[in-house]
Symmetry: C2
Subunit: 331 residues, 2 copies
């Protein structure tokens, strides 16, 4: 029989549809994607083509060239110029679309799959995330920042060159405000941070744990919204990603690389998104919220039911997804 | 400059990304879909293949054959047998996945595009929606019912034969509860139903109106979450679809057919979902909620930003989408 499970962070139910369930192996991508070249002349993210992007904002590297580059998104969702103006007209509410929209180019090599980045390069990328995350919040027009990655067409990108993005919006997303509130109520009720409790519980039960490092626990959520949906939780309580220490960055690089490699090898390079869910730097001491990373492989498609109810139908058992990922050898 | 607009029903912001904006014509599907045959021997929804579906639940028609058929979904998200049992285990919450999951076969003809159904057939389909909607709520295990349609692979279906679905879940979706609450607060603040106010305002402003009939107003929402996103609002205040009168069904058939035809002719048969957002029959007199239909063409893809923030990026201007749809000739 199917089972509905409550996601305590979103407060939404997920239908674990065991009647429709596939075995983990059945989600493997059957058509192997085409091999990419090392360098593409027309790619704006390849070395030598730096003039094809808007003016560079940041880079790391040395005299041999850049390692990670940050540029404004050429097709920005929010504009980097102009002031933030609210308009209140009867029942209408609008705000000028100003803020930050950056692209983080993760490697000079066009054909590096993010799962196959070296640990050092992944660490470099996460350091740049932290740098740009902090920088975006210095813009007084920015209310909230999302760092995310779209990998593959099914995840919303047609660009092959490995990259992630950062968007700073001039408003707080209602979804995030709702989660803060839910977490605050949990704290009031239980006297503990919801995410601290969830991570401890997952570690105790073990059945959904995929990997563990010194500072991070990676697991498939109890109410995973889709097959192989994975959370990476820092063990140390902190409300903001901006608070991550150097040793933790090193460790997160290993954790993220481990999960992405398991997806890459186990499911044959599936499309996926990941997102860093974090509070703002100045509220990093908040006792009731805890930042984390959510990785969502795009193996199924949200349809009318999901749009109409906000509930997801997951055609895999979280415990089986976790066991499958745990067993994937990545070296 | 882009603009953020607040959707008063979901309370979420939408980024109207005019820098990325395409003209309405640019969303036309460029590859025309393959023509379908009238009848397919292996299709479980074609006449003559009735034994290939689970046991029929309902049909309309006459001695010449059925017009609309309702069958259980063979790959049900929730099971029709078993009892509803809550399990509360520490912080975990689960419910047995019981409820109703039906398929409404909209026509005996395999190759009838829903946009091209006759008004009489569309009326028949909506009558069946009402019948099954009411019936689903008689199941004491059912807390909430969603009637929806997935049209095309991009909208989550691989079945060609025109059909829609109904799912009755054993819990109230949190998303729906949140909307009820938001609507209640609006009523408390303003002394009027939010949806009544929205429809009146749209009619006054006119720029986003697509079509109007005696009983329904169709418009692109002010904060449309994607290109050509359209709402059909009943003019008469009622919290539940179950309350629709026969004359209104006739009129809704015209309204729905008009919007689907405009999408079909104007954008060349795009994939789309639609969903009836409605309160339960017994709460149809609620003064602060108002049922409606939301039609969402799937012309763009939600990516990491949408997953991570709950905010959508719409690459079209709602007023331009509405003007385009208004002008599409459907006869």
């Amino acid at each position: 029989m199917p089972e509905l499970r409550l996601n305590l962070i979103t407060r939404e139910w997920v239908i674990i549809a065991t009647e429709r369930a596939k075995r983990p192996e059945d989600f493997k991508i059957s058509v192997s994607k085409k091999a990419l070249p090392y360098y593409v002349e027309t790619c704006p993210f390849c070395p030598g083509n730096e003039t094809k992007t808007p003016v560079e904002l940041f880079r790391t590297g040395d005299k041999n060239g850049w390692k990670v580059r940050v540029v404004p998104n050429k097709f920005a969702a929010v504009s980097d110029s102009g002031s933030r103006e609210r308009k209140i007209d009867g029942i209408r509410r609008s705000v000028t679309g100003v803020g930050v929209h950056e692209v983080i180019i993760e490697s000079p090599r066009h054909n590096t799959n993010p799962a196959l980045l070296s640990s050092e390069q992944m660490e470099e990328v996460i350091k740049v995330y932290k740098n740009r995350f902090l920088k975006a919040y210095t813009d007084p027009r920015v209310e909230h920042v999302i760092v995310f990655k779209n990998h593959g067409e099914g995840a919303g990108t047609s660009l092959e060159h490995p990259h992630s993005q950062l968007i700073g919006t001039p408003v707080m997303p209602v979804q995030f405000r709702d989660r803060l509130e839910a977490a605050a109520h949990f704290f009031d009720d239980m006297g503990e941070c919801l995410m601290c409790v969830l991570a401890r519980k997952e570690k105790e039960e073990g059945v959904r744990v995929v990997a563990e490092t010194e500072h991070f626990l990676s697991f498939v959520p109890y109410a995973a919204l889709s097959p192989f949906h994975t959370w990476i939780f820092p063990k140390r309580h902190s409300a903001s990603f901006s608070d991550i220490a150097d040793a933790e960055i090193k460790d997160l690089a290993l954790s993220l690389k481990s999960i992405l490699s398991k997806l890459y090898h186990g499911l044959v390079n599936p499309d996926y998104n990941f997102v860093i869910r974090s509070n703002k730097p100045k509220d990093c001491d908040l006792e009731y919220f805890h930042w984390y990373i959510s990785i969502i492989p795009r193996l199924t498609r949200a349809a009318g039911f999901e749009l109409g109810s906000g509930m997801y139908i997951n055609t895999s058992l979280p415990e089986e997804s976790a066991e499958f990922l745990r067993k994937v050898q990545t070296t």
